[in-house]
């Protein structure tokens, strides 16, 4: 049941065709784990909370740096030096105190026990090594994983559903794991973070996602969006 307050707060999406109270209740009852509170995570988390996802687990061990502020729009100059996870929790609760938000600053590999009960994982990390770790755990625990990455004006978005779709290792397993400071304009993680939240809301509300077995390649410099089919690697050591 939605409360009177919730019916008022979510009024404009409750009247959306094919959404309604049933979908809103599904969002409210869901638990989502979001990894990385940089450019992607700042935007994705904001819209998940605004939409009424009931339980959100936030993971990021880092503190806010001045060079984050061109793209990590949840933070302000006065926030430099503060822990991103705890700060994000505070800010998101001031947007919507009706939901449960927990913040964790441990390293990703040490947090599995905390998020193994989540219904959906959202990858907003900034390196391929972490993404592949999440992918492997998602496979092991049978959790759907929405993943995005950005650089410059470009980004990608993909939804991995264990046992059903190719995994991230099928696509990126043989790619370079080098992690270094990458060039980026703030709007790129903004757009891709929004798209991650979009797919998450659709998935949790029981609607079909658009990046199942298709990776969305985004180029904001040319404003081109292309969905490309991906195939399972029959030799993938993770999902085959």
């Amino acid at each position: 049941m939605l409360s009177k307050k919730e019916l008022e707060r979510y009024k404009r999406q409750l009247i959306l065709e094919g959404f309604g109270e049933e979908a809103q209740k599904k969002l409210k009852d869901s638990k989502v784990a979001l990894f990385g509170l940089g450019g992607l995570g700042s935007t994705a988390s904001l819209y998940l909370v605004a939409a009424g996802v009931g339980n959100l687990l936030l993971f990021d061990p880092e503190k806010v740096e001045i060079s984050n502020l061109n793209r990590q729009v949840l933070y302000q100059t006065k926030d430099v030096g503060r822990e991103k996870a705890k700060l994000t929790r505070e800010k998101l609760l001031s947007l919507n105190s009706e939901i449960s938000i927990s913040a964790y600053t441990e390293r990703l590999q040490e947090t599995v026990d905390i998020w193994k009960e989540a219904h959906l994982l959202i990858d907003c990390l900034d390196n391929l090594e972490g993404r592949l770790f999440l992918n492997n755990k998602a496979t092991e625990l049978q959790k759907p994983l929405i993943s995005a990455a950005v650089e410059g004006w470009q980004g990608y978005l993909y939804t991995y559903i264990p046992r059903e779709t190719p995994c991230l290792n099928c696509i990126f397993g043989n790619k370079s794991k080098r992690a270094e400071a990458f060039p980026v304009i703030g709007v790129t993680p903004g757009v891709l973070g929004l798209l991650e939240a979009t797919e998450a809301i659709k998935y949790l509300a029981g609607k079909e996602v658009s990046t199942r077995e298709r990776i969305l390649l985004v180029n904001l410099e040319t404003l081109t969006f292309k969905r490309v089919k991906v195939k399972k690697n029959p030799e993938c050591e993770i999902c085959s």
């Binding site: 990455a149 470009q154 790619k175 370079s176 990776i215 390649l217 292309k226 195939k231 690697n233």
Partner: protein, 62 residues
């Protein structure tokens, strides 16, 4: 075949596999994705002179 990379289009002659195209263009397969029409290709896929492919960089930032 026509190869689009970084906003430029290069023409290559003959049929060859994806890995051979990347070698000819001096590209490290670990750093790029290769697309034909609406499909992501693996390095062993055979390409033909009539194909049009696009090469994009692997990205991993957030």
């Amino acid at each position: 075949m026509k190869v689009e990379i970084g906003g430029r289009v290069i023409t290559l002659k003959g049929n060859k596999r994806v890995r051979e195209v990347l070698k000819e263009l001096d590209l490290n397969p670990e750093t790029v994705l290769v697309i034909r029409e609406d499909e992501l290709l693996t390095d062993d896929v055979q390409l033909y002179e009539s194909d049009e492919i696009k090469i994009v960089n692997v990205i991993s930032g957030g």
